[in-house]
């Protein structure tokens, strides 16, 4: 991803929903990458987001000012880099949510229009 605003003007890419998901998880609870990977649920069915992809997105968001990290000691394991969301990160997440609401409405409008068609092309499709 190029730095700065993307084509959605949200500051974070929405195609795979990786950064919005990470920002939401960090907003709920500042934590480290290891735990974020354990909590991360891919939005797209069947998709497995690799740990390396999550770590790279965290570092990218830190470079872009959406999250900040610092070392957090642990009683049972090593100190790990803990991520917290910044004001810019909260703003980027809010913008992403607005964009997603708009996309959701567009999809719903499309489905309504399609389902209202009296003839859907002459073929029935079974789910």
């Amino acid at each position: 991803m190029a730095t700065g605003k993307n084509e959605n003007d949200t500051g974070i890419p929405l195609d795979r929903m990786i950064q919005p998901m990470l920002l939401m998880l960090i907003l709920k609870k500042p934590t480290h990458g290891y735990e974020l990977i354990q909590s991360f649920n891919a939005v797209h069915e069947g998709e497995i987001v690799e740990p390396g992809t999550i770590y790279r997105n965290l570092r990218r968001m830190e470079r872009e000012g959406f999250v900040l990290s610092g070392w957090e000691a642990s009683e049972s394991g090593p100190a790990r880099r803990k991520y917290d969301i910044t004001e810019d990160g909260i703003k980027a997440l809010q913008e992403a949510v607005l964009k997603l609401e708009k996309q959701k409405q567009q999809i719903e409008d499309f489905l309504t229009e399609y389902n209202d068609l009296p003839n859907k092309g002459g073929h029935s499709i079974e789910n």
Partner: protein
């Protein structure tokens, strides 16, 4: 070897050889006249050396559990996880049956041709070695192949003291295949086969699955045994309590774990975390 009391002494896992060297070059930008003494071995061998009195300023290992097991709290206060990796099967174009092997048949290829030599690093000294044994245990269950673990153990041609030596043996043609970290295979320009996440020790989501694998090695005292459970791979670094160069050691760790170090780790096939 005679050591210089003013030099920065870094002891590290063999798999970190290249990225550590590159980070030292950045450190020299701040300390141009600094002498650096680099030493490397399997991670358990590194930790045992510090526990036996070796004085170093930075210790970087391939498994944070080695810190917990041998060094914390007596020799080290805490350690910092800075990179992850995964296990792969490395080979080159001269390896026997390299044109036949793939991610589905690797165990059949290794076990069916007696001319093939495959190896691992020494599980008593090096996490890459015990992680290989864990991978084999997990593979036996994942592929539902009873006896696979013992067959692979029995067919092993040799043990190398660290993963770096294993890769060198592969490049020199002493072995055909080596169970390696992906980062080492990439650094050495070796070909490799990816394993599924369920057995390659890369994914924190599979922590419980990995913990079903277990390796028992000699403990730190005579007659004692240490049990090591499978876990996602995490490299960690620390400054030992008896370091003579804590400030410079801290600067080095900030480079290794900072943006420039992350770039170096990534370029060397590791995943900064």
């Amino acid at each position: 070897m005679k050591t210089d009391p003013n030099s920065l002494k870094i002891l590290h896992a063999g798999a970190l050889r290249k990225p550590i060297k590159e980070c030292i070059h950045i450190l020299w930008g701040k300390y141009p006249n600094l002498k650096v003494e680099l030493d490397y071995a399997g991670s358990r061998a590194c930790a045992n050396a510090v526990a036996e009195g070796k004085i170093v300023d930075v210790i970087a290992l391939a498994d944070y559990q080695v810190f917990s097991d041998i060094l914390i709290p007596r020799f080290v206060d805490t350690c910092f996880a800075f990179a992850t990796d995964q296990m792969v099967l490395a080979f080159d174009e001269f390896s026997i049956d390299s044109d036949k092997i793939n991610s589905l048949n690797w165990m059949d290829v290794l076990l069916s041709n007696p001319a093939i030599k495959y190896a691992l690093s020494d599980y008593r000294l090096d996490p890459c070695g015990y992680r290989t044994l864990m991978l084999w245990q997990l593979a036996e269950k994942y592929y539902t192949k009873p006896g696979l673990y013992h067959n692979l153990v029995n067919g092993t041609s040799s043990l190398y003291s660290k993963s770096f030596d294993l890769a060198v043996a592969l490049m020199e043609g002493k072995i055909d295949y080596g169970f390696e970290y992906r980062s080492v295979a990439k650094q050495m320009n070796l070909q490799f086969i990816h394993f599924p996440a369920e057995i390659n020790l890369s994914d924190p989501r599979l922590t419980d699955c990995y913990a079903r694998a277990k390796v028992v090695i000699e403990g730190n005292s005579p007659g004692m045994k240490t049990e090591i459970l499978g876990a996602p791979i995490e490299f960690a670094v620390s400054i030992p309590k008896n370091s003579n160069q804590k400030k410079i050691a801290q600067d080095f760790i900030e480079i290794l774990t900072g943006p420039r170090g992350e770039g170096i780790l990534e370029a060397n096939g590791l995943i900064p975390c």
